[in-house]
Subunit: 191 residues, 6 copies
């Protein structure tokens, strides 16, 4: 059995109830527990903060589709060489976009992916926030507005890129391992 | 009056009670409201997650002194060209370390700062997590252990670097402005 | 029908006989024609030179296993952001290594992949040749010899990295599109 | 007493008269001897050349205000991670600009500083000369002329950036230490 | 006698006939055997593929002059720190262009060389293919077409850059030594 | 007649006497006036400071041979893409080292040049000062001392690298043109 990460995972029964419940819930929904839940559970306060931030950006209603949000995660995580996030969110992206090719395309080189000009502008901006945020300024906004992104959408793009800047560093530092289940998810036609 | 950030700040009275209370509390303690509270308040769920994460890492007891934690923030935020975090946490670092010179030294070039070899090793690692986390691996741990850092301390170093990777990107993206009050804090001898 | 590349593909019947025969042969063996054959066919002399070079390095007997050679291709092509080579050779790597996970791991961050120390040393060297060949020197060889690589094996590692430096640039420049067939190859257990 | 630099400082009485007189003069004017004078004094010919160059650019009349010149020094020295120059010239910038905030802003990220579009264009150019002078060309001049910079002003911007390219490297190499006095200079309102 | 490269050179009489004939032919034409022929001869299949690729791009008729093609080789090889290719092809460039200064200018900084705007656009594109091919896209083509480059010419520029990406890596890896004869070739006026 | 630089050159008779005399002297010694004298003459104070600095480092007696000093200039100027300094000081290096090949070797990739381990250590350090001086520290000194460099020699290496950091930026900014005479100097055997 391959390790979840560099740090030990506490026994489920020793976790605070809310953390345990979240883990049980995702297990029931997905059929397995993605390792990020197990790797972060040893620090319940950080676990709660991380998933609260995640849900606030990734689960809410809003101008960005869920597939678009996952695209931001995959593209910025690839730029940060984060195996866990590319593999895990690549699976979610394939499912959300109902497209078995899109995640690999975005991960290797989003400029060559089958995406719309709107998505290209979104990812150009997300990558700038990820890699060179000190140069982000007013000059970056008009191109986004032209593609129909509202001020709130632009915040969402930047905030997702920022949250995964955190997540990528934690996954890389802890050597978080993507579950084997992710690799094939969303690649086969639904029967 | 200079703007808090690129995005409008909601009136205090329209904020959820817990957000408002946190803002009032920091105002009472510090004598002013650091702009990060005002800039993030328009997104209460993200506000709560961010400060929960912050408190979990920066306020808890642990092996790293509070000055050491602020040193990590200043050094990594400088590497990310984040004006808000360098100026605001530079002020806190001066106060925590009771050293009026340390923040400017660490911000410009921590390798030349008046810090101990332990602190140097800590910042070398924090910067690697900040700038090149994909290459972090087992080879980085022995040097940290030799300086007395426990496995939990090492997690703290990496997690603080990771949280401010998020924070720096949000501050840079929103054009968050450091309050004028920060610049002089901790520079004068206590009377 | 999505385009093979930025440049038009000549009709099969207008190609020189040897080029056409090579294309027919790969079609019979694989069940489809990988687009690199179609994209390069319009320049028969370059087509012949490219596949002669490819076969000399990838098809011959030698100290490197075929899976190891494909690993070099995937890792260096990922470093060069080459969608065609990562997707196409990722498929071949999965098959050669009989491992459905290995290609995605190596493509995102080979340092985190399930590979042996020998393979890690091989990829470290291949990446140095790919990204910073001007600093390659005697100091790089002992680590490779310690892992059992002969002088001929080391040439093979470097030469494969060098050949795909060419291939990645041609694929990126022509916008060569990976065939849809590649994405799922080698991901499912053999029945 | 902390060392001035990695190299020993000669006794004042052993210095050539002109070098000693310059040091005495700055001591009388400033109330202390900035360490750059002490660190360079052991090489009188280089000392004379350096301060001659410095005075030719920083003390003369000309189209750039003295505050603008110090801004160039602070911004380019920060890009070169030069603690001595950022701290010492940051102090001078605060005084010349009568602005206690400007030096820290420019040092961390001049793009976010409270500066005019003219100053922004000036610093963009100074940084290009500092960091990538091989790509400077005719295309860089029109933007500067539009902001009212004459050909002589443009020379001054580039030459100040170039002189501190030298100065930053000497300070970094010698481990030149900023005097404690600099840190607080210009931060308090004049009484 | 200085070594040809890190690897031994096989005796001429042990080489396959076609390889030997090519070496004899270049010896007769040039008066010496450029070391690239000797260094690659130990791998006849790779030797044949390399020179077939080389001839297909460098010797054919086409829209690019032979001097222009050598310019691409020199500029991209300099960017890759490849001593063999800069020195050897620098000699050929001086001869092809009948200009004793051009090779050194292009090698150090082609932006400052005595070249036409057409050649500048050609080299800008060749360098982008050499150094950052993942970002090459449709936006790069109009500038080339404006300077009169056909679609086939653009392929040639990219393919020469790509071939020398391979060649530079092999020369750097093998420590291929430029023959002493190259350094002075084309520098003196023809008598 | 090609221009000396982007800026006009004042008539010789309008220059201050000392500047004019220096120019006349170099003309008499070399047979031509290197363009750096003409390009800087329009700013006599900077001219005097620059050449005073130059002479203090390049003309004095000391532990570094004159060929070694020119090697530092060529290697660091190549790293800064400075055509004037590579071509002009390449010529001087060939003459000082009585070696017609050395300048081109050092300019393209000093790691592959025919230099001694002592010279290699010297250039490694000079390049670190040129390109990343903020990380220079005590750890860099032992390797230099082992090769017999004294503390004064180390200062000289760093100071030459620093002076040409300035010089390269001025030459690149002004578009200073190397005189045609330099290209062939030192390439032919002395009769």
């Amino acid at each position: 059995m391959k390790p979840v990460s560099r740090y030990p995972v506490p026994p489920l029964e020793e976790l605070p109830q809310d953390v345990r419940e979240r883990i049980v819930a995702v297990q029931e929904k997905s059929g397995f527990v993605p390792n990020v839940f197990l790797a972060l559970a040893r620090r319940p306060a950080e676990f709660r903060a991380f998933f609260a931030y995640h849900d606030a950006l990734m689960e809410k209603e809003g101008g960005l589709s869920k597939a678009e949000r996952e695209m931001i995660v995959v593209a910025t995580s690839a730029a940060n060489d984060c195996q866990y996030c590319v593999v895990a969110h690549g699976a979610i992206l394939r499912i959300r976009a109902r497209n078995p090719l899109i995640a690999d395309q975005v991960a290797v080189n989003y400029r060559k992916a089958d995406i719309s000009p709107r998505e290209r502008a979104m990812l150009d901006f997300a990558l700038k926030v990820a890699l060179d945020s000190g140069t982000v300024g007013e000059a970056d906004f008009p191109a986004l507005r032209e593609h129909g992104f509202s001020e709130e959408d632009i915040w969402d793009i930047a905030a997702i890129s920022a949250l995964f800047a955190l997540s990528n560093r934690m996954a890389n530092f802890t050597g978080m391992r993507p579950n084997d289940e992710f690799y094939l998810m969303g690649r086969l036609p639904k029967k």
